[in-house]
Amino acid sequence: MNIIACVRQTPDTESAIKIGGDAKAIATDGIKYVLGPYDEYSHEAAVQLMEKNGGEVTAISFGPERVKETLRNCLAIGAAKAVHILDEDASHDDALAIATALAAAIKPMTYDVVFTSNKGTDSDRGLVGAMLAEKLGLPYVGLVSELEVEDGGKALVCTRDVEGGQREKIKVTLPAVICAQKGLREPRYASLMNIMQAKKKPLETKSVADLGVDTAGAVKLQVEKLEYPPQRPPGRLIDGASVDEKVKELVRLLKEEAKVL
């Protein structure tokens, strides 16, 4: 099974996010970039499918030069090769633009499954995977938390939880785009030896011009301004001599002050 893992480089979730001077983007100094937390699961699912069924995993990422570091990391955790679609323009970090560029790069490749994951923890968007499937003319299953190979590798049965406590099982014929939910497969970490070996694996760079894609033209959204969400007013600790007193006071406050009961 040949598998493509789309990976997004994102700021470490511990990074302090500060709005930059022009209020159009965040200040990038001091930010540590990592493989997106959700992509850790999808990449691992790709590697495990490959380990079970043969074939190879290609990691692919769209973004500026720094993205190469994340792709090297993927090569150290099981990908055989990596493709970097280089685009330095931060305003091209747009779902349609990314999906268009990824689709152009993926179309000529041979593959059975393309993995993406729930969302970028920076973009908070959750769109690129489905848009990529649509651009490739392939079926898509979002937010998959469990999957099994069926029909001798021709299909996958995917399980996912949707709103209202419903669990869906969806059978999808391959090739298809699968979007992983957290926990699909527990990620592995690279050993020093893996990291050394990864340096010898192929990492190809393509420009959007090489792919014949007009990323700028595909962008349909423009950032007007960034703001911090409204700060919560400081709260208070509830006084009381006993648990009972505190609980009674809490219920009173919820009813009379917060008016939420």
Binding site: P37, L226, V243, K246, L254
Partner: protein, 325 residues
Amino acid sequence: MGNGIWVVGEGKGDELSRATCEILSEARRLAGDDKVTCVLLGTGLTAQAAQAGKFGADEVLACENAELGKYNLEIEAHIVAKAVGDKKPDLVLVPATTHGRELAAFVASRLNLGLASECVALSKGDDGQFRAVRPMYAGKVRVTVKFTDSGTRMATVRPNVLAATETGKAGAVTALEFSKPEKVGAEMVTVETKGDGGAVDLSEASIVVSGGRGLKGPENFHLVHSLAEVLGGAVGASRMVVDAGWKEHSFQVGQTGRVVTPDLYIAVGISGAIQHLVGMQNAGCIVAINNNPEAAIFKVADYGLVGDLFEVVPALTEELKKSRN
């Protein structure tokens, strides 16, 4: 006069989802004198169509077909994209749910339309342009976006952030033609209701009670369930609880779980790590119950109760039961 605003609704049985009602109300507000249209796909849509009218739809486009009894992304996207491409509404709004998100993405990609996802506010400026406010960086930042193209724009809207208000009366129902793509690659095999999901859905709940590692083990989680039950709320969990296998991932609140915006959020035995806070800090009122007065959760809590959850939670549940009667 523009081409109006469309809302692609969701519902179950005779009822529209609460998110759909919220978005219809918002569409009504944004549309001014323009038409609001609700698109519904499924079977037995009469009651849902009438409800759409009450929440502001002037017109309902209903596509009824047995094949739509089970959700299918490719078929729904095919029908909606065709209708949107045909009628070119000014704005198409979709609930930001598992189904809504992917449906909106397919339609936007097919027609190359700008799609702002997970929006928490929408507006129309003096320049006549729609703007959307959406989170970024797991909600640490809010961004206002504008659409660069003229023509149809799209947005998915988060449940539970906008108010649902009944304004109108049942509008005209027009049939929307069913058709399907030549090839459908994915098919629903089964849909089942999970046993321990709790009665109320996490992302739409107006009250959420979440439990953390302070509960010590899955055998104590019933404390959280009982409290949620008296409040008519949904149950949530921290990632520690999910990673330890006490609860499934669908319960997780936070950066790698659900983002919730209930009127009341009660955190029980949760420390308040930043990755948890970004999932709940926009709740209307936050209550924290923790035995460590230094816990970070108290920094965002409107009401903090320092104490042993094993004493506090049962006492609180009892007190609420009493005050009900």
